[in-house]
Amino acid sequence: MTTDSQLVGRAQSGDQDAFAELLRRHSDAVFRLALSILGQGFAAEAEDIAQEVFLKVHRTLPTFRGDAEVGSWIYRIAFNQAVNWKTRARYRKPHLNDASLADAATSQAGPDVLAETGERDRFLAECIETLPEVYQSALRLHYWLGASMAEVAALLDVPENTAKSYLHRARPLLDVMLRQKGYSYV
């Protein structure tokens, strides 16, 4: 199988098929990384960011010297692009999608329980937003998008132990914030 570096070499000499293959290999990961930074309810925006990332990769391809892994280079561009977008958007509230409305409508729990857990989940989401970007991204990648620690590490371009430490540090912080607010875990 052709390696990413070989594909980059071919793309640098104008082979559009090689670039298309790079796009095919990394598009899902870039999209997931963007989602993990923006959060739930921002799928369309994450897709726009993924497009921008690949246009930027194509534009800066001639300057890529191969000092880093191709994947790491692309994911770093994606991370910065998504964080910049988020900063510009100033934490706009996500829209409720149809699936979450349907979930709420078909839930078996009573209205008071729903209200309390809903409120707690909202507060938890707000707490997550206060954490450093890498913690937020690691949490969403792992708990929402179901990424393994190896995948989290690859996408955030850090060793696996560092990715694990992001979760180890984030969880007690969230725990303290929830307890201070008086929320239980039932």
């Binding site: 989602l35 994450a46 969403r140 969230l174």
Partner: protein, 90 residues
Amino acid sequence: MSDIDELLRRSMAAPVPRLSPDFHRSVSRKLQRKSRSSTRILLAGYAGVSMIVSIVLMRNQGLGWLPIAALTLGPLAALALVQKSARRVR
């Protein structure tokens, strides 16, 4: 810490969005459009510079403005005509 672990798992449980099926095609289309427009800019620049150079050279050879205009604009008009007729055929 398993409590918070479980809570995070539960509160973040939501459908995972997927990339739209035409994502790759749309990126390729944008790239093509971009490369087409940069080629157009390059060609227009080249045409502009060569036009100026030929006008200066023709003027230095003592040609009047009328033949210079005819020699410069004539090919452009011919090109426009060819393009127009090709579009009509299509």
